[in-house]
C-alpha cells in the first residue's frame, strides 16, 4: 500500500471526466487500498480517484468519527429523494485549508458497485449525502469551489498558486 500524491486546485487534471470501471480485478483492489490510505493520511472523509490522477469512477468514503468504517463506491450515481437543501462548510483535500458553504440536497439514494462488482443501493442523509455528492462531482471534473462566487474562487486560486510556487 502507498500514500498517493493528491492533485491540488487549480491543476487542470482535476477537470478530467472519469471513465467507468469495467474490470474488477486485483489492480482495482490495490488502488482502492491505496486511496483509503491516502484519505486517512490526509485526514479526509472522502477521496475520488480523480484526485490522485486516476480518471476512473472510484470513490472511498469514511464519515465515521472513529475512522474505522471505510467504504468503496465504484461507478457511483445518486438520485435526489428530498429536494430540501442543507448548507455545509465544505472543504476538499484538493483545495487544502479552505472551507466554503455549499448547499446540496439533503437526502439521496446512492447506487454503486463494491470492489467485487456487486451492485448495492444505500439511502443517505447528513454528512454522507453531502460527501457522496462532493466526490461524484470530482469524477465529473467539478470542484466545490465551482459553487461559490468567482471572487472567492479567484482568491483561493491565487493563494494556492502562490503556495505551490513557494513549495516548488
Amino acid at each position: 500500500m502507498a500514500v498517493l500524491p493528491i492533485l491540488e486546485f487549480p491543476d487542470p487534471r482535476l477537470r478530467t471526466v472519469a471513465k467507468p470501471v469495467t474490470l474488477f480485478d486485483a489492480e482495482l483492489k490495490s488502488l482502492v487500498a491505496d486511496m483509503r490510505e491516502t484519505m486517512y493520511a490526509a485526514e479526509g472523509i472522502g477521496l475520488a480517484a480523480s484526485q490522485v490522477d486516476v480518471h476512473r469512477r472510484i470513490l472511498v468514503i469514511d464519515v465515521s468519527e472513529t475512522k474505522d468504517s471505510p467504504r468503496a463506491f465504484i461507478n457511483p450515481t445518486f438520485e435526489v429523494i428530498d429536494e430540501e437543501l442543507q448548507d455545509y462548510d465544505e472543504g476538499c483535500l484538493s483545495v487544502p485549508g479552505f472551507y466554503e458553504t455549499v448547499s446540496r440536497p439533503r437526502r439521496v439514494i446512492i447506487r454503486a458497485q463494491d470492489e467485487e462488482g456487486v451492485p448495492f443501493e444505500l439511502e443517505a442523509d447528513g454528512l454522507l449525502a453531502i460527501c457522496i455528492q462532493h466526490e461524484i462531482d470530482h469524477l465529473d471534473g467539478k470542484l466545490f469551489v465551482d459553487y461559490i462566487s468567482k471572487l472567492k474562487r479567484d482568491r483561493i486560486r491565487s493563494k494556492l498558486t502562490k503556495a505551490h510556487k513557494k513549495s516548488a
Binding site: 485526514e43 468519527e65 485549508g97 447528513g126
Partner: protein, 462 residues
C-alpha cells in the same frame, strides 16, 4: 472531501455567541445537530463556557500580547484547547494537533504556530500557572487578586462579588454547583402512574434513578439519557423538568374549579405540571410574549394529551391586560418572571460569558412592571406565585419587598419547607424562599414568593 473539524466549529460558534446578537449557545448549536461528531462539538462549547473565566485568566497569562478583537475565533480555539487539556481525558498531543489543524479550518493558517506555542506552553507551565490561579486569597488583597479569586472558581467577577456579599457562607458551594454538570430529572405524571411504579419501569430498561428529595413527582437519573429511551415518554408518562419547577404546583394550593393564569408560560413545563396536578381547573390561560416559544407550549401539552383541558394559549405581553384578560378575577397566577437565570448556570453555562450586570437591572424593571400589572387581575384571597431562576437578591427578595411596599392589599405568605433558605424582612415577615444550586443531584437555583391578596389593606406597621 475534507470536513471542518469539531474544534474549528466550536471556536466559530463560541466567537459568534460572544458577539451576543444571535441568541443562546443551544440555538447556535442547532446548525450542527446532524453531524456525527455533534456530541464532541457540544461538549467543547459547553465546557469552554463552563470554565470560561478560569480559562480566560490562564490564557491572558500565556499570551505575550492580547489578540485583536477580530481574532476572537482564534482566542476561542485557544480557550477550547485549554479546556480539553485541563478537563478532558483526550491525549495532550491529540488536542494540540487537532487545535493546530483547526486554525486552518478557521481560514487562519497564520494562527497555527501561535496555537501550537500557547498550548505547549500551558503544558510546560501547568503546575505554576494553576497554582497561581488557585492561590488562597489573602484578606486585604488588591483588586487584581479579587479578579483572580473569581477566575479560580470560574465565575465572572461581577457575579462572584454579588454572591460573596449576599451569600458569603454558601459562596464556594454555589460556585461548585454552577460548575458541575446538572442531573437529568423527570417529572412523573401522577395522574397516569405512581412514582414508584415508574421507577420500576426505568429499572426494567436498565435506567438507574432515585426518588427526588424536593418534589413528590421527581425522579433523578443517575446518568442522563435520550428521552426516547424513557418508557412511555411519547405517551406523556413523564417529562424532563428540573426539580425546582416541579415544586411550583404544590405551592399554588390548587383545587377543582379554580381559574389560573401562567403569565410567562413558554416552554410550558410548569403549565403542564399544574395541569397534571389538578385536572379539574375551571379555566387556564397560558401567556407568552413570543409566538415561537408559545408554539412549544402547544407541543408540550399535545404530547401530554392535556389539550382536552380548558386551556387558552395567548401571544401577548402579560402586562398588556387588554390582550388577554376578560375582566373576571383570577384565583391563581403564576409569574415565572424574566430574570438573569443565574440559578441555572449549570444548565446554561453560556450565561457566564454573556450576562452583564446591566441586564440584571433591566430584568428587575420587567419584574416590577409585571407584578404591578398582574396584581389587579387577582381575585380577593387569590394567590400569585412569583418565581425566578435567579439567585440574586435584587431580583428576588428585593423585588418582593419593593412590591409589598407599593401595594396595600398584598401579603407574602411564609413557605414552610425543609428545602432552601427563608428570606426574611427586617420586621420578620417573609419575603420568599430561595433554593440555591448546591445539591449536585437536587434542583436548580430558584426563588419562590407566595403573595396573597388581602381584603383589607395590609397594615404595614402591625
Amino acid at each position: 472531501m475534507a470536513s471542518k473539524s469539531a474544534r474549528a466549529i466550536a471556536a466559530k460558534v463560541l466567537s459568534t455567541l460572544q458577539v451576543g446578537t444571535n441568541g443562546s449557545l443551544s440555538n447556535l448549536l442547532d446548525d450542527y445537530r446532524e453531524r456525527d461528531d455533534y456530541p464532541l462539538i457540544q461538549e467543547l462549547c459547553f465546557g469552554a463556557c463552563r470554565w470560561y473565566p478560569a480559562l480566560d485568566h490562564l490564557l491572558d497569562n500565556l499570551l505575550s500580547k492580547p489578540l485583536k478583537a477580530k481574532e476572537s475565533d482564534v482566542r476561542w480555539l485557544l480557550l477550547v484547547g485549554l479546556y480539553q487539556l485541563r478537563e478532558l481525558s483526550i491525549a495532550d498531543y491529540a488536542v494540540i494537533n487537532e487545535s493546530v489543524e483547526a486554525s486552518r479550518g478557521l481560514k487562519k493558517p497564520w494562527a497555527a504556530a501561535l496555537v501550537n506555542a500557547v498550548l505547549r506552553n500551558y503544558l510546560r507551565r501547568k503546575v505554576s500557572l494553576e497554582s497561581a490561579l488557585q492561590l488562597d486569597q489573602n484578606p486585604g488583597a488588591a483588586s487584581s487578586d479579587a479578579k483572580r479569586a473569581a477566575a479560580a472558581l470560574a465565575h465572572p467577577k461581577w457575579l462572584f462579588d454579588r454572591l460573596k456579599t449576599e451569600r458569603p457562607e454558601s459562596l464556594e458551594a454555589i460556585c461548585d454547583g454552577n460548575n458541575a454538570r446538572p442531573p437529568m430529572t423527570l417529572r412523573v405524571n401522577l395522574s397516569k402512574i405512581s412514582r414508584n411504579d415508574y421507577l420500576e419501569r426505568l429499572g426494567e430498561r436498565g435506567i438507574d434513578a432515585t426518588l427526588g428529595g424536593y418534589a413528590d413527582t421527581a425522579l433523578v437519573l443517575r446518568e442522563p439519557c435520550h428521552v426516547d429511551a424513557l418508557p412511555g415518554f411519547r405517551d406523556g408518562l413523564v417529562s424532563v423538568q428540573d426539580e425546582a419547577s416541579q415544586i411550583v404546583p404544590s405551592l399554588l394550593q390548587l383545587r377543582p374549579g379554580l381559574s389560573l393564569v401562567d403569565a410567562c408560560a413558554a416552554p410550558g413545563g410548569k403549565t403542564a405540571a399544574i395541569l397534571e396536578r389538578e385536572t379539574a381547573l375551571k379555566r387556564v390561560v397560558a401567556i407568552d410574549s413570543s409566538k415561537k416559544r408559545l408554539a412549544r407550549v402547544t407541543e408540550t401539552l399535545g404530547r401530554l394529551a392535556l389539550t382536552e383541558q380548558p386551556i387558552t394559549l395567548c401571544t401577548a405581553n402579560a402586562e398588556n391586560l387588554d390582550a388577554w384578560w376578560d375582566g373576571n378575577p383570577i384565583d391563581r397566577i403564576l409569574l415565572d418572571a424574566p430574570c438573569s437565570a443565574t440559578g441555572v448556570i449549570r444548565r446554561h453555562p453560556d450565561i457566564k460569558v454573556l450576562r452583564t450586570p446591566d441586564e440584571v437591572a433591566s430584568c428587575c424593571e420587567s419584574q416590577q412592571t409585571l407584578l404591578a400589572a398582574l396584581w389587579p387581575c387577582l381575585a380577593e384571597d387569590g394567590l400569585l406565585l412569583y418565581t425566578t431562576c435567579s439567585v440574586l437578591d435584587e431580583e428576588n427578595q428585593h423585588t418582593i419587598s419593593r412590591f409589598l411596599a407599593a401595594t396595600d392589599n398584598a401579603k407574602c405568605e411564609r413557605i414552610t419547607a425543609d428545602w432552601g433558605v427563608e428570606c426574611a424582612a427586617a420586621d420578620g415577615g417573609s419575603l420568599g424562599r430561595q433554593l440555591l444550586p448546591i445539591d449536585p443531584r437536587g434542583p436548580d437555583g430558584f426563588f419562590f414568593a407566595l403573595l396573597r391578596k388581602t381584603s383589607e389593606p395590609e397594615s404595614k406597621t402591625g
